[in-house]
């Protein structure tokens, strides 16, 4: 710890001690939360649970439909929200001039990022389930979650695009490149690592979301493997929520198991993201 040149007074020491206690309290809370899940859910980490279907009996229940549902949703959300998010970030940073319109769009984006997720669920229900008549399907769920994380993707991508030095763009224009060439050959490649980091963070949020999908009417009891975009579905957080809501402690243990697998899935997605980013950065440094 840095105490400057002077020795700390008694009052300072008391304050530092208080800070330390509060910080370790927060760290302990993090440890206990994760620890409680691991302690209770680790027993559930077996193939029967992983490949089983939900059941009335807690010890026979498994999470295969929820796991596949989450995988479907994540894949679709990534495919929908990342391209749209990056393209709108490009529109903001490369095409739109500074002015009242840009300011308004900026406020709109930040406001959208603060709208509660359950409100997105209701809007998804109205747009995708009712108006477009997609039913309570994987596709409707994925589109709703895409809307939810879109502002996060856009904000992160804009940040990444702004990090590309202006001199790079000027060099490109000086060589006679058009705006499109500059975006395609300079801006996108150089901002890609940052865009990927931001998108992975947004996707991590998408994996854990349950509230909007509950609004859409994602089922809590799915005893079949989803077989396409229009299939009814469940996801890991919804399955966990369903099991927590039951009074029997055996189901609570199942919930802990489902959550543990959810956390492992989060870790896998995040490390994949880090790997891709490192690879891209390496290539950029060489070129």
């Amino acid at each position: 710890m840095r105490f400057g040149n002077k020795t700390a007074t008694r009052r300072e020491l008391i304050f530092y001690a208080l800070c330390l206690i509060v910080t370790s309290f927060a760290l302990t809370a993090l440890l206990i939360t994760v620890g409680a899940i691991v302690a209770s859910g680790a027993l559930k980490l077996n193939l029967d649970f992983l490949l089983g279907f939900p059941s009335r009996k807690a010890e026979q229940a498994g999470i295969l439909p929820a796991l596949l549902g989450s995988a479907y949703i994540i894949f679709l959300v990534a495919v929908v929200s990342v391209p749209i998010g990056v393209l709108s970030a490009l529109f903001f940073e490369e095409y739109l001039r500074n002015g009242p319109i840009k300011k308004m769009l900026d406020i709109n984006l930040k406001t959208l990022a603060g709208v509660p997720s359950i409100v997105y669920g209701l809007i998804g229900l109205q747009i995708f389930v009712r108006t477009f008549d997609l039913g309570r399907s994987i596709l409707a769920g994925a589109l709703t979650i895409s809307l939810l994380i879109l502002p996060v993707v856009v904000i992160a991508s804009r940040e990444a695009i702004r990090q590309v030095p202006g001199s790079f763009r000027e060099a490109s224009y000086a060589l006679g490149a058009t705006k499109f060439d500059t975006i395609w050959r300079i801006v996108i490649p150089f901002s890609l690592p940052g865009i990927i980091t931001g998108s992975i963070l947004a996707l991590s949020r998408a994996i854990g979301e349950a509230a909007p999908l509950i609004c859409l009417g994602a089922l809590t009891y799915v005893a079949f493997i989803p077989d396409g975009l229009f299939s009814p579905f469940t996801t890991l957080p919804i399955q966990a929520f369903n099991w927590i809501s039951r009074p029997q402690p055996e189901f609570h243990q199942n919930a802990a198991g489902a959550i543990l697998i959810l956390i492992i899935l989060l870790l896998i997605v995040n490390s994949l993201g880090i790997l891709i980013r490192l690879k891209l950065q390496k290539r950029l440094n060489l070129g």
Partner: protein, 293 residues
């Protein structure tokens, strides 16, 4: 090559434009759908009942539509969350920016930010299965669904939000201000509390407003651990129902779509939306004024 044709360029910029318009369309549809359904709701239920009655029982035989129990439930849990997260977050951010060595900060801050990455069902599980039984040891009156543990755990959830924004604003305080304080003979603690913290004041306030907005909009923790009892009271040991938990409850149940009971969901969501909108605007304004200093 096709990449450099004029049509490609035109198509690309059009694509960018359409992608950006998705956000506008989203905002428009949120406002349109919420207000349309809420309008339909108010055709059947007078606004005076909605805002003045103190009983909420749309799903029961004797229907009453007073939203206050849901609002107090929401405020109770989010206030508890704020009471937990605000002092903790501010103290930790002071610790990070004023006391601790940079290398510890670089390690500790991302670790604590992991709290934001945890899915909220996990917090709900923790509140219901671990925290409530534990607190029942010394609070025998604590119900198994209660506002207290849901609020405390929600405090953990919003801690990273408050921590990182107030840390940013403390970092933004000009170093010259600190040096001026020391030049006047102030001690380290005096500089921290009488110069740095007041200078970062609006940022810290923005942090708490944003934390509050997140707590009000959170669904899963309160659905799992705070119960489904829309009753007007301020007892943290008892069950409550928040606005978000009510929406989730109706969505999970078998209320037919298009019925008056289902429309209540949109009326509640409109109140929730407006409340969080106001808080987010306030935070945005505070942060803008901070950046211009």
């Amino acid at each position: 090559m096709w990449l450099f044709r004029k049509t490609t360029r035109k198509a690309f910029s059009a694509l960018c434009f359409f992608s950006a318009s998705v956000s506008i369309l989203t905002t428009a549809s949120i406002i349109l759908f919420l207000f349309f359904e809420t309008l339909e709701f108010f055709k059947e239920v007078p606004m005076t009942e909605f805002f003045l009655s103190t009983t909420w029982s749309p799903l029961f035989e004797k229907k009453e539509f007073g939203i206050w129990p849901l609002i107090t439930g929401t405020l109770l849990t989010s206030m508890i969350a704020l009471i937990v997260a605000l002092p903790t977050g501010i103290l930790i951010s002071i610790f990070f920016s004023e006391v601790v060595d940079r290398k510890y900060r670089r390690l500790l801050k991302p670790t604590l930010e992991l709290l934001a990455a945890i899915p909220t069902v996990v917090y709900g599980y923790f509140a219901l299965v671990v925290l409530t039984p534990f607190m029942q040891n010394f609070l025998p009156n604590l119900q198994s669904f209660n506002a207290l543990s849901a609020g405390i755990v929600m405090g953990l959830m919003i801690l990273p939000t408050i921590l990182s924004i107030s840390d940013d604003s403390l970092q933004n305080v000009s170093h010259n201000l600190r040096l001026a304080g020391y030049a006047l003979g102030a001690t380290r603690l005096q500089v921290t509390f009488f110069i740095v913290v007041p200078a970062a004041g609006s940022g810290i306030f923005a942090a708490s407003v944003l934390g509050l907005a997140r707590a009000i909009g959170e669904t899963m923790i309160v659905s799992i651990a705070a119960g489904q009892m829309p009753k007007l009271h301020f007892n943290p040991l008892e069950a409550v129902q928040t606005m978000t938990a009510y929406i989730a409850q109706v969505s999970l149940g078998d209320t037919p779509y298009g019925s008056l009971e289902f429309r209540t969901v949109f009326a509640v969501a409109t109140v929730l939306f407006i409340l969080t909108l106001i808080l987010n605007f306030l935070a945005l304004k505070l942060k803008i004024s901070l950046n211009s200093v």
